[in-house]
């Protein structure tokens, strides 16, 4: 991997922040955008901006073709069986809400849903709302101090009342990779469906939805070098056919009269209104870009960054890493003893280092560790060891100033 060439693909990496070169370690919140994706967005608005699936005119046809090509790119990337199993959404949160809404008619009082202790609020709250409206109960798979899920406890939670299990592929707060393959197999034994939140996995891993045999898989383009406001939901055809539409409107209908409306076939049934056309096309371009670099290469390089960052940060006395396991993505969540993560984040920002501080939308995890939050440095394939050195000296300075 030619890291200098890759870095030159990302114009933002040239900028300065607070008079220092930007060190962007907040990739888990959103990734940066390569020039090819920016060009794709400019090209769309400059050359073929038109509404899709509606016009007979050439421009509309061109935009429709590009949009549907992007859907095919996503299908191929996730190895879904059919293109119609890929639904464009506005992001991970939207995809989860779509599925939760769909299940509201399929659940009854006393049914059970299982969630992991490691979830992002977006993979907790929609299900709580679903439980409230249906009378179903939410059960939690506990985790241990390393952020590893207790699979024994999971076995015991699974019963014939279990209807749905949802879990993230990679935890956003700790970076831990969850054993989703095992989670899915076991859920299927009791006839439950599984939704995997891939928001944090997809920047690092190429998931194979058929091999995983997962029922639903959701992700956001903006964490995979794509634009904000667009994402994908994969659903097995038999599930997507069973779920009712999410929103009503144009695009999602076959025929409308005031007496009765029949819905369009998959995937359009779930895509009401004019979608984020440009975003969807750019999502496809982002996936192409990442595949050109190669996920195996990305994995190896990020592993190097993770190992280096972990060992360098651990040299700082009083620094504790949360969720330090062998099986994790390039995310380091840590605290300095006796120092609030917010203070550390404020100081390192002054040196141009962007990290996330706080509870990372995963308050239950912070409650488990009895901390107000962590400092989270999340790496991407365009980061370097040199940048990690900058982070380490910035953290050392913060420690000196704050203790």
């Amino acid at each position: 991997m030619d890291i200098q060439k890759i870095r030159s693909d990302f114009p933002i990496l040239n900028r300065k922040v607070n008079d220092h070169p930007l060190v962007y370690f907040d990739n888990a919140a959103t990734s940066q955008t390569p020039q090819v994706v920016i060009d794709c967005i400019v090209d769309y608005y400059s050359n073929y901006n038109a509404n899709i699936h509606r016009g007979v005119h050439s421009l509309s046809q061109e935009a429709t073709d590009k949009y549907e090509q992007a859907r095919e790119t996503i299908r191929a990337h996730f190895n879904a069986k059919f293109t119609r199993e890929i639904i464009f959404t506005s992001g991970t949160t939207d995809g989860i809400n779509l599925v939760a809404h769909g299940f509201s008619g399929l659940l009854k009082k006393g049914d059970e849903l299982i969630v992991s202790a490691l979830e992002h609020h977006s993979n907790i709250v929609p299900w709580q709302m679903l439980c409230e409206s249906t009378g179903a109960n939410l059960k939690v798979i506990p985790m241990n101090d390393q952020g590893i899920l207790d699979m024994q406890a999971y076995n015991e939670l699974l019963t014939d009342r279990t209807k749905l299990v949802f879990c993230n592929h990679v935890s956003n707060a700790l970076g831990v990779i969850n054993p989703i393959s095992e989670i899915i197999k076991k859920a299927h034994h009791v006839g439950a469906a599984v939704l995997v939140d891939g928001a944090q996995a997809t920047p690092h891993i190429k998931p194979n939805v058929q091999e995983l045999d997962v029922d639903f898989y959701v992700a956001s383009a903006h964490k995979m070098c794509g634009p904000t406001g667009v994402g994908m939901l994969y659903g097995k055809e038999q599930w997507l056919s069973k779920l009712p539409p999410y929103q009503g409107g144009g695009e999602m209908i076959a025929e409308v009269t005031f007496e009765k409306t029949t819905y369009a076939d998959l995937p359009h049934k779930f895509e009401a209104g004019t979608p984020n056309i440009c975003g969807g096309i750019a999502f496809g371009a982002a996936i192409d870009y990442m595949n050109e670099i190669g996920f195996a290469e990305i994995h190896d390089y990020e592993k190097e960054l993770l190992d280096y960052g972990t060992s360098e940060l651990k040299k700082i006395p009083g620094l504790k890493i949360y969720g330090e396991t062998a099986h994790k993505a390039a995310v380091i969540s840590f605290n300095l003893q006796g120092i609030h993560p917010y203070d550390v984040g404020s100081i390192v920002d002054k040196l141009g280092v962007a990290v996330r501080t706080g509870h990372h939308c995963a308050q239950p995890i912070m409650d488990y560790f009895k901390i107000p939050g962590t400092v989270r440095a999340s790496f991407a394939f365009y980061n370097t060891k040199q940048e990690i050195d900058t982070l380490v000296s910035a953290v050392k300075l913060a420690q000196k100033m704050l203790s």
């Binding site: 609030h340 917010y342 203070d343 100081i347 100033m401």
Partner: protein, 140 residues
């Protein structure tokens, strides 16, 4: 001293520093002089919402003047609230209501004023002013 005079004094002190590090170090120092809120007032109700770190503020009227005590679990936030308390404490509620907060900008802490900044300096100022409004109606 009036609020304006105290603010000018703070601006003068900060003008001696020429980089952010000195400003932050001074702010951390000021945090140590913050009149601390009594533990019994560190309640959920006294936490200022909109801050990533916890900030508690308590106000009480002493001889028609409003006196603030506060604390935070983050050091920089404690410094910021200390600056605000220094500027606003021991003043009449009306003076606090009328005061402007341009000095924050002048001491180079503008970035903390941004509503997107999770420490919620804006929320702190609003809370101090809300206390002043509440006590002002009591005085009337």
């Amino acid at each position: 001293m009036t609020i304006q005079e105290i603010q000018n004094e703070i601006v003068d002190e900060f003008s001696m520093f020429d980089d952010w590090m000195q400003r932050y170090e001074y702010m951390i120092e000021l945090g140590k002089s913050l009149p601390l809120i009594e533990d019994r007032y560190k309640t959920q109700a006294n936490i200022i919402k909109g801050c990533q770190s916890k900030v508690w503020v308590h106000a009480e009227l002493q001889d028609d003047k409003l006196v603030f005590t506060a604390d935070s679990d983050a050091i920089i936030t404690k410094g910021i609230i200390a600056i605000l308390v220094r500027a606003f404490s021991n003043q009449s509620p009306q003076a606090i209501i009328d005061a402007d907060t341009k000095f924050i900008d002048e001491i180079g802490l503008k970035e903390h004023l941004s509503p997107t900044r999770a420490n919620g300096l804006v929320s702190m100022i609003k809370q101090l002013k809300l206390y002043a409004v509440a006590y002002q109606t009591q005085l009337n």
